[in-house]
């Protein structure tokens, strides 16, 4: 993550710019792949829950409040914030801190979406509240070199995960066993969280958590292989056929590879994110599958990844209004349902650059198959 002093300096600057008395960055301990984790980004400490917050005054006073109280030792070790306090009475201690930091006029909250009613109203009794997620979004929107190092390391772990997925996707293994082996490979390589989904069968409709199903000859096995390190997720969307793929499957998959390739040509800092989706949908539509490019068959054609910001957003589709920005990490996935083959997975995580994009994985995007 970025230089802590720089982060604090920028946040204090934005607090003052907005005329706030201070900022609360809150977490309930939830980590959601499609949402930024502001608290983790700012503190560099991933909390367990149920409640944690960092309180920053407009003059730069700083306190990290952690529940359960025994986890404050880890918080002190992980975070750059020196004033760390464990608590069993979160709201009471939070309100006391607001008073101590003279934050009784208007305070900003980042991560308020996770707050319960009692907590939110409890803060409102102490000060007026303004929702300011954009403060963290602003400082986190462009990944730093330090973050990029972690992202590249995570990309290597994703490739290790895919190799395991390919190795174990064999006739007879159960879905949950396949993902256990995939996860083991990625954990052993250093992943600290995992978001793996899959599907198997002769005709898939979506990806899901693994079931008891045993893989069978002729199965199309699809996977979203998604390790994380320090909150940075990388995803590979892959399809493995069990047997020798027939011409129909090969032809449909080649449409996706082409759609991916053409859409990646649209990626460049400053270009509209919607171009990714429009390019993909054009190619797939021209192949005769226009109706299958939109809900209920398809939803997003990609999304951002990151700890402090998932810009360009949680959904990239034809209607996305924002432009791509330098050093955004984006999964581009023409995952697609075809009536002839079912749902197929195809996707790469890329880094947006000033001149185009950088693919973060080395494995080839193609239809994989395991015979025998």
């Amino acid at each position: 993550m970025s230089d802590p002093n720089m982060k604090l300096q920028k946040v204090v600057g934005l607090i003052n710019q907005k005329g706030l008395d201070g900022l609360i960055i809150y977490s309930r301990g939830n980590c959601f792949v499609l949402k930024p984790f502001y608290f983790y980004y700012f503190t560099e400490f991933r909390p367990m829950g149920p409640n944690s917050a960092v309180i920053i005054s407009k003059s730069g006073d700083l306190l990290l409040l952690v529940e359960p109280p025994w986890d404050c030792i880890r918080a002190s070790q992980k975070s750059w914030i020196r004033d760390v306090r464990g608590t069993s009475h979160f709201l009471k201690d939070l309100r006391e801190t607001l008073g101590k930091f003279n934050m009784t006029g208007t305070v900003g909250i980042a991560g308020a979406g996770e707050m319960t009613y009692a907590l939110y109203e409890g803060i409102r009794q102490e000060a007026a509240v303004e929702l300011v997620d954009e403060i963290i979004e602003e400082i986190a929107k462009e990944k730093t070199e330090k973050e990029l190092d972690v992202i590249r390391k995570t990309a290597r772990i994703a490739e290790i995960g895919f190799k395991a997925f390919l190795k174990y996707a064999r006739i007879g293994i159960r879905e949950y066993e396949l993902l256990a082996e995939t996860e083991f490979a990625m954990r052993s390589a250093g992943a600290d969280d995992i978001f793996n989904l899959m599907g198997s069968g002769s005709h898939n409709y979506a990806m899901h958590a693994p079931t008891d199903r045993r893989l069978a000859p002729g199965d199309v096995v699809i996977g979203e292989i998604t390790p994380a390190c320090e909150g940075q997720f990388i995803q590979l969307c892959r399809t493995v056929f069990l047997g020798k793929p027939g011409p129909v499957l090969k032809e449909k998959y080649s449409i996706l590879v082409r759609a991916l390739g053409e859409s990646l040509k649209q990626v460049k800092s400053g270009n509209p994110a919607a171009l990714i989706s429009k390019t993909m949908n054009k190619i797939i539509s021209e192949s005769g599958y226009a109706k299958y490019c939109y809900p209920p068959y398809m939803r997003a054609r990609g999304h951002g990844f990151g700890v402090g910001s998932i810009a360009p957003g949680a959904v990239i589709d034809d209607d996305t209004k924002v432009c791509l920005g330098r050093h955004q990490v984006v999964i581009v996935h023409p995952n697609q349902y075809f009536p002839e083959t079912g749902y197929l997975a195809c996707g790469e995580t890329i880094l947006v650059t000033d001149t185009g994009m950088e693919r973060l994985s080395d494995t080839e995007t193609r239809l994989y198959f395991n015979e025998g």
């Binding site: 309930r28 301990g29 939830n30 980590c31 959601f32 792949v33 991933r46 367990m48 829950g49 149920p50 529940e67 359960p68 109280p69 025994w70 986890d71 030792i73 880890r74 308020a112 979406g113 996770e114 707050m115 319960t116 009613y117 009692a118 907590l119 939110y120 109203e121 159960r174 949950y176 066993e177 993902l179 256990a180 082996e181 996860e183 083991f184 954990r187 052993s188 250093g190 600290d192 969280d193 995992i194 978001f195 793996n196 989904l197 409709y205 979506a206 899901h208 958590a209 693994p210 079931t211 008891d212 994380a228 997720f233 809900p295 209920p296 068959y297 939803r299």
Partner: protein
């Protein structure tokens, strides 16, 4: 015990209808409707959110959130039960594979969709029982719900469900027993496996693999190394393990929605983990288990336990609490505290932890999942 919440529940996700048949859920709905009648409720809404707080809606529907999203079960006095879950419509077939509820609705905002459902059924105004909404729902959703149901009479019904969930049915106990077996096997595995050049991360990978291969739906782990300055339980990190390290491991496993947990203290001798030798600490722990007598007030048990620990001349570590109920959540009622008003009752499943600074050669923690049957306490997480 608080643990790190993963980004996804990613283990085996099935509804085994032999282990937990539809009849079990229908009986729960029948009991709830009886209580609704007695309390004058026309609708009961049960809300859950995130990977830790799915218990109440799951108790009725068997649906579990795999990501931090909300879900609501809506029970009216008669007619069908409804499950509303945040997520995408294309995920509905998978949701329906794991619930007996036929009316399943996906949405972006569970609060708005619940209000729409109530309006559609002409249940605004009416008398609503609320479970979990105030405790877990994001504030903006709850504000909307309160505003939209302002003409309704609302009853806080958390206690009603807590009471039901506190006493486990035979099938629930069997599920916790299955989860407990996985915990036991993993501890057994690591104490019988030679490791070379192991660090905490690779130990976590090995334990996770075993658990998921055994069919775990979710796995949580913590470690403590008393050799470290200011040691405490924490997630496993990229930290080496060295010979003679005393290692305290916490392991919780969820199997088909139900949790079990265990804690053990090991010593890493050369390339293998040896369980800390049996001594006065184990005797003390066994005695405390025997004190979990049906009918005894838990507050009294707590006081007696504290006295017993003192009499043994060991210093207790109170950070992690003595224990609490376990089932669909890692933390449910009753709490093993001085304030608990319940007595021990047949059918309770509990965790019991004992942490001391000077048990035998050094700090020790032991923890197990315990079932209170009519014959007394039974340790489920023991080989």
């Amino acid at each position: 015990m608080e643990t790190m919440q993963p980004t996804l529940k990613r283990g085996r996700d099935v509804w085994d209808q032999i282990n937990m048949p539809e009849a079990e859920f229908l009986e729960r709905v029948r009991k709830i409707r009886e209580e609704m009648q007695q309390k004058g409720m026309e609708v009961l809404l049960l809300y859950g959110n995130s990977l830790n707080e799915y218990g109440d809606p799951c108790y009725i529907s068997n649906y579990v959130m795999k990501m931090p999203r909300g879900a609501m079960v809506v029970i009216t006095r008669t007619g069908e039960v409804t499950l509303i879950c945040e997520g995408f419509s294309r995920d509905l077939p998978e949701v329906k594979n794991t619930t007996w509820v036929e009316n399943v609705i996906s949405c972006e905002n569970v609060s708005q969709r619940s209000v729409a459902l109530l309006k559609g059924k002409n249940l605004i105004p009416s008398t609503l029982g609320l479970v979990g909404l105030e405790r877990f729902m994001p504030y903006d959703q709850f504000q909307f719900f309160l505003k939209s149901t302002g003409s309704c009479n609302t009853i806080h019904a958390d206690d009603m469900i807590r009471e039901m969930r506190m006493i486990k049915s035979q099938r629930e106990v069997d599920q916790i027993r299955r989860a407990s077996r996985i915990v036991t096997r993993i501890f057994d595995k690591i104490s019988h496996t030679p490791f070379s050049n192991i660090n905490e991360k690779s130990l976590e990978a090995v334990m996770g693999r075993e658990a998921y291969l055994e069919g775990a739906e979710d796995v949580r782990m913590l470690i403590a190394k008393p050799k470290e300055k200011n040691w405490t339980l924490r997630p496993l990190g990229d930290v080496p393990l060295s010979a003679d390290d005393r290692v305290i491991l916490y392991l919780a496993v969820e199997f088909e929605r139900y949790w079990a947990e265990g804690m053990k203290t090991f010593v890493l001798e050369r390339d293998s983990f040896k369980e800390a030798p049996v001594d006065i600490f184990n005797t003390l722990y066994s005695q405390i288990i025997q004190n979990m007598k049906l009918g005894e007030r838990i507050s009294q048990f707590y006081k007696e336990t504290v006295a017993e620990i003192k009499a043994t001349h060991v210093d207790a570590i109170s950070d992690y609490c003595l224990g609490q109920g376990i089932g669909l959540s890692l933390q449910e009622l009753p709490l093993l505290t001085e304030e608990e008003t319940n007595p021990f009752r047949e059918g309770m499943c509990l965790t019991l932890r004992l942490a001391v600074k000077n048990g035998g050669k050094g700090p020790r923690i032991i923890g197990n999942t315990i079932f209170l049957s009519k014959d007394g306490p039974e340790v489920l997480t023991q080989a």
